[in-house]
C-alpha cells in the first residue's frame, strides 16, 4: 500500500484498555473495534458519539498515546507502529483535553507554555521566541508572568492551546475542550482555534457533544461502540434518522426544519441543508404552497397553575469573599414561587454559585437574608439552629456531583443524608427505592459500587442522594454538563417529572437554549447583580434581548429569519408567540401560515 503523505489513515484498529486483575474473569469490551477512517491534511473534522463510544481513545491513537492491539495507523505517511517514527509523530500532534486544571504543568503561564518545546529539546533563543509567539497568538502575552491557577477557565484552555502551538504541530486535537466553558468563552475559543488552523495550516480534529459546533466542520465521523458508523459532510450526516441511536441529535435548526417538513408532508434534501440561506428558502418554499393543510395537533393542555405562593425569598443579599474587594453577589432580591422551574443564568464567575450556596445555608447570609417557607413555618438561613431543617428542605446538587460519591455501594451513598438526619433504618429503604426510581436507577445498580457506573448513571446516583431527603426545593448547578445529547435530554426529562410531582426547581445554567425550554422564569445575573427576571418569552423578545445585550436562543434567531422571509409572501401574517422547543416552534409557524393562507383562499 503506498502511504499517502497527505492524510491520517487508521485501518482496522482495535484497542482494549487493560483491566484490573480482579476483574480478569470478565471479557474486556474493546474501546475500539476494527475502526477505519481517513482524515485529510488541513481538514477540519469532528468526531461525534455518545459517552463511552471510543471517541477519546481514537484521539489517543492518533497522537500515539496508546498503541493499538491490532491494525495500522499511518500519520502523513509515517507508520506509527515504527518505533523510530512514533516520537516524531507525537511531537507534531497536540491534544487539548476537557479539564483545564488537569493539563497544566507549570505554575507560571510562560513556564507552562515552554513545557512542550523544552521536552523536544529546543535550544534557547528559539525556545523563547516560540513561547512568546504562541502567547501572542492566543492573546495571553500580557499575562505571561501570572500564576496559572489565577486564570479563568477560558484562559486556561487558551493556555493549553498556546502550549500546543509552541510545539509547532501539524495536527491539533480538541478532546471536548469546550465542554466546561460558558457560551461566550466557547465562541471565543473556537474562533481562536479556527483562526490558528487557517494561519498555521493545521489539521484540526475536534471531539464534541455540541451539534451546532460540529456544523462548523468540513467532515463528521460518528463513532459508536468502537466503530465508525457514519462519515460525511455535516449536511449528509444530519439527513440521517439514526442519530438518536448513537446518542446524538440534530442541531436545533435542523430539528425545527425537519419538523416543518413533516408537518407539511414534504421532504428536505441534502442540498437544502448546505447553508442557512438555502435552508430558509427551502422552508419558505414549503410553506408557500397554497395547499398545505393545518396540522391536527392536539391542543396543548397548559396546566398553568397560578403560582402565587412564595416558597423561598432572597432579600438584599450581598457577599464578599475574604481578601477580595469586589462583591461576589450584590444586593440580590428574588422570590421563588412554589412549583416553578426558575433558571439562574449568567457567565462563569458572575456569582451564580455564590448565590445558590446561600440557598441552603452552606454560606450563611452576612448581609441580607434568605427565608424558606416549609411545613415547620418560615425558616431563616441566618438562624443557625434551623440549619439541618433548611438543608432537608432545600436540596443542593453542585456541578459534577458524581465526583463526590464515596460509599461502597450506591445504596449506602444515597442513604448518607438519611443517616445524618437520623431517619430510622426501616423507613430508609422505601425512601431510597423511591429516589432511585425517580432518577431511573435499577435495583442492580443500587447494589453496585458507584465507581463501576457510567458517567451518566453516577450523576443520577449523586442526584438521588439529594432527592432522598424529599426536598421541597431542589437547586441544580449545571446538571447536564458533560453529557451527550441523549443524556442531556434524559436529565431534563427527570427535572420535568420532578416539577410535575410538585418540587420547586432552581436550575443554574449558562446554556440559553436549554434554559429557555426548561424554565418557567429566568433570572439573569451579571457581575453579581440581577439584570432581569421574567419568563423566557419576555426576556427573549427582540427588544428586551437587545436592551439586555443577551444572545437569544439559537432556535429563536433562526426562526425569526424564516418568519421575516414569510412576511414577504404574506404581508399581513400574524404569528403566534415564540416557542423555544424546536418542534413546538415549527408547529406554531406552520399553524400561523395555514391560518393566513386559509384567509387568502376564501377571498
Amino acid at each position: 500500500m503506498p502511504e499517502d503523505p497527505n492524510s491520517i489513515v487508521i485501518k482496522d484498529v482495535s484497542f482494549s484498555y487493560e483491566i484490573p486483575e480482579e476483574d480478569s474473569g470478565k471479557a474486556p469490551r474493546p474501546a475500539l473495534d476494527g475502526i477505519s477512517i481517513t482524515i485529510a491534511k488541513g481538514s477540519y473534522t469532528a468526531i461525534l458519539g455518545s459517552n463511552g463510544s471510543g471517541k477519546s481513545t481514537l484521539a489517543k491513537i492518533i497522537d500515539v498515546l496508546e498503541v493499538p492491539d491490532s491494525g495500522k495507523v499511518v500519520i502523513f505517511g509515517k507508520d506509527a507502529g515504527n518505533d523510530d517514527l512514533f516520537w516524531d509523530i507525537r511531537s507534531h500532534c497536540c491534544c487539548v483535553f476537557q479539564n483545564p486544571d488537569n493539563q497544566i504543568v507549570g505554575t507560571i503561564v510562560e513556564e507552562d507554555v515552554a513545557f512542550g518545546p523544552e521536552n523536544l529539546g529546543i535550544p534557547n533563543p528559539e525556545l523563547r521566541q516560540r513561547v512568546d509567539q504562541a502567547l501572542k497568538d492566543v492573546g495571553l502575552y500580557e499575562l505571561r508572568h501570572r500564576e496559572t491557577t489565577a486564570l479563568s477557565g477560558g484562559q486556561k484552555q487558551k493556555l493549553a492551546i498556546a502550549g500546543a502551538l509552541a510545539m509547532q504541530p501539524d495536527i491539533l486535537i480538541l478532546d471536548e475542550s469546550t465542554a466546561m466553558l460558558d457560551p461566550s468563552s466557547r465562541d471565543d475559543f473556537l474562533a481562536l482555534v479556527e483562526k490558528m488552523r487557517l494561519e498555521k495550516g493545521l489539521t484540526l480534529i475536534t471531539i464534541t457533544h455540541d451539534m451546532t459546533e460540529a456544523l462548523r466542520c468540513d467532515k463528521l465521523i460518528i463513532v459508536d461502540k468502537g466503530k465508525a458508523v457514519m462519515e460525511g459532510r455535516p449536511e449528509e450526516i444530519f439527513m440521517s434518522d439514526d442519530l438518536w441511536k448513537y446518542g446524538l441529535k440534530r442541531p436545533v435548526k435542523y430539528i425545527f426544519a425537519f419538523e416543518i417538513a413533516k408537518l407539511t408532508g414534504q421532504r428536505l434534501t441534502c442540498d437544502d441543508l448546505k447553508s442557512d440561506e438555502t435552508l430558509i428558502s427551502a422552508l419558505a418554499d414549503m410553506l408557500k404552497k397554497p395547499d398545505i393543510k393545518a396540522p391536527e395537533a392536539p391542543e396543548e393542555k397548559k396546566a398553568k397553575t397560578d403560582r402565587h405562593e412564595v416558597i423561598m425569598s432572597v432579600k438584599d443579599l450581598s457577599y464578599t469573599y475574604d481578601g477580595s474587594d469586589v462583591k461576589a453577589i450584590d444586593n440580590i432580591n428574588l422570590d421563588i414561587m412554589k412549583g416553578e422551574v426558575l433558571g439562574i443564568v449568567g457567565e462563569s464567575g458572575c456569582g451564580k454559585t455564590t448565590l445558590i450556596s446561600h440557598m441552603n445555608a452552606i454560606f450563611r447570609p452576612v448581609s441580607g437574608d434568605v427565608t424558606i417557607s416549609t411545613k415547620d413555618g418560615v425558616l431563616s438561613c441566618r438562624n443557625k439552629k434551623d440549619t439541618l431543617k433548611i438543608r432537608q428542605n432545600v436540596g443542593l446538587v453542585f456541578q459534577y456531583p458524581e465526583y463526590q460519591l464515596f460509599e461502597e455501594t450506591v445504596y449506602k451513598d444515597i442513604a448518607f443524608g438519611l443517616r445524618k438526619m437520623d431517619v430510622p433504618k426501616t423507613e430508609q429503604k422505601s425512601l431510597i427505592r423511591e429516589a432511585a426510581y425517580r432518577v431511573g436507577l435499577t435495583e442492580k445498580e443500587l447494589d453496585s459500587s458507584p465507581f463501576e457506573l457510567s458517567g451518566g448513571q453516577k450523576r443520577r446516583a449523586a442526584m438521588a442522594g439529594v432527592l432522598v431527603m424529599n426536598p421541597g426545593i431542589l437547586v441544580l448547578d449545571e446538571p447536564a454538563s458533560g453529557l451527550d445529547p441523549r443524556g442531556r435530554q434524559e436529565m431534563f426529562t427527570i427535572i420535568r417529572c420532578l416539577r410535575d410531582s410538585g418540587t420547586t426547581v432552581v436550575l443554574v445554567s449558562h446554556n440559553m437554549d436549554e434554559a429557555a425550554v426548561n424554565c418557567d422564569r429566568i433570572c439573569l445575573i451579571d457581575g453579581g447583580k440581577i439584570k432581569a427576571v421574567g419568563t423566557p418569552a419576555e426576556l427573549f423578545s427582540k427588544e428586551k434581548a437587545e436592551e439586555l445585550n443577551i444572545q437569544r436562543p439559537r432556535i429563536t434567531r433562526f426562526s425569526e429569519r424564516l418568519r421575516k422571509e414569510l412576511e414577504k409572501v404574506y404581508p399581513d401574517i400574524v404569528f403566534d408567540g415564540m416557542e423555544f422547543e424546536p418542534e413546538k416552534e415549527a408547529l406554531s409557524v406552520v399553524k400561523s401560515v395555514c391560518r393566513e393562507a386559509g384567509k387568502h383562499n376564501v377571498q
Binding site: 516520537w87 507525537r90 505554575t107 523544552e118 529539546g121 525556545l127 500564576e147 491557577t149 502550549g163
Partner: protein, 269 residues
C-alpha cells in the same frame, strides 16, 4: 477555609530576591536554618531580625502577605512559648502556684524559642516559597543534587514530582472545599459531635478526594505524555539557571552576615 492555605504559595513580583538564582537561595536557606538554631542571645536575635527585615524588603513582601504566612503558625509558636515558660525553672521566680513556677529567665528563653520558630517560617517563605516558583525550585534541587544521579538516585524525577505536587495544592484545596460543601448540604456536620464522629466525617471527604486525585493524576500523565515528556534527558529550559556575579556576591554577603551573627552570639555567652 482550605483555599486560604498559603503554604508553598508563590508570590509573583519582580524583586531582587525573586531574581536571585534559586540555588544560591537554597544554600542560603540551609545557612540560615543552622544560624537560627545556633543563636540564643537577645542581641544576636535582634541582629538576625535586622537581616530578615532586609531580606523582606529585598523580596518586596508586604506586611499583609507576611502576616498570612506567619498567622497559621502562631498557635504553634504560642504553644512552644507556654511549654518553655512552664518547664524552665532556673532564675528568679516571678510567680509560683502549686506546680506552676514562672521565672524571668524562663520567659526570656521561651520568647527566644518562639521567635526562632517564626524566623524559621519567614526564612523558608522569603528565601524559598514566596520568591521562587516551584519549577525553579525543582530546577535548583535537581542541579544541587545532580551528583546523586551518579549513584542512580532519580533526581530529575523527584524534582518534577515535587513541583507538580506544589502546583496542585491550590487545585486540591478547592476540590476539598467543594466536596465538603456538597456533603454539608446533605446534612454532614464537621464541627460538632464527638471526636470519633469528626474523624469519621473527614473520612467521607478523603475518599472522594483520593479518587479524584487519582483521576487527575491519570489525566495529567496523559497530558504530559502528549506534550512529549520523557524524563530529564535532552530537555532544554526556557529560563535556564544562570549564576551571575551578583548572585555569588549576594550569597557571600548573606553568608558572612549569618557568620557574624553567630560569632556575636558565641562571644556573648
Amino acid at each position: 477555609m482550605f483555599s486560604k492555605i498559603s503554604l508553598g504559595r508563590y508570590y509573583p513580583a519582580h524583586s531582587f530576591l525573586h531574581e536571585t538564582d534559586p540555588r544560591v537561595k537554597t544554600i542560603l536557606y540551609g545557612v540560615y536554618l543552622v544560624t537560627v538554631f545556633m543563636i540564643r542571645e537577645p542581641v544576636s536575635v535582634a541582629l538576625l531580625a535586622g537581616i530578615v527585615i532586609l531580606q523582606l524588603i529585598l523580596a518586596k513582601i508586604t506586611p499583609g502577605i507576611l502576616w498570612s504566612t506567619v498567622k497559621p503558625m502562631l498557635p504553634l509558636a504560642l504553644f512552644i512559648f507556654i511549654i518553655n515558660v512552664l518547664t524552665i525553672k532556673q532564675g528568679d521566680v516571678l510567680f509560683s502556684w502549686k506546680i506552676i513556677t514562672i521565672t524571668g529567665y524562663g520567659i526570656g528563653r521561651a520568647s527566644i524559642m518562639a521567635v526562632r520558630l517564626i524566623f524559621l517560617i519567614i526564612s523558608t517563605s522569603v528565601l524559598l516559597t514566596l520568591t521562587t516558583t516551584p519549577l525553579k525550585m525543582s530546577d535548583a534541587l535537581e542541579k544541587l543534587f545532580a551528583p546523586l544521579s551518579l549513584i542512580k538516585v532519580p533526581v530529575h524525577e523527584m524534582a518534577m514530582m515535587m513541583s507538580i505536587a506544589l502546583r496542585f495544592i491550590p487545585t486540591l484545596a478547592a476540590e476539598t472545599d467543594k466536596i465538603m460543601k456538597a456533603q454539608q448540604s446533605r446534612g454532614a456536620d464537621y464541627d460538632t459531635g464527638s471526636f470519633i464522629n469528626k474523624v469519621r466525617g473527614y473520612i467521607t471527604v478523603l475518599i472522594p478526594l483520593f479518587v479524584s486525585s487519582f483521576r487527575r493524576a491519570d489525566e495529567l500523565a496523559v497530558a504530559m505524555d502528549a506534550r512529549c515528556y520523557s524524563g530529564g534527558k535532552g530537555r532544554t529550559k526556557l529560563n535556564p539557571l544562570n549564576l551571575t556575579l551578583r548572585d555569588v556576591l549576594t550569597g557571600i554577603m548573606f553568608t558572612l552576615l549569618a557568620v557574624l551573627v553567630v560569632l556575636v552570639d558565641l562571644s556573648l555567652r
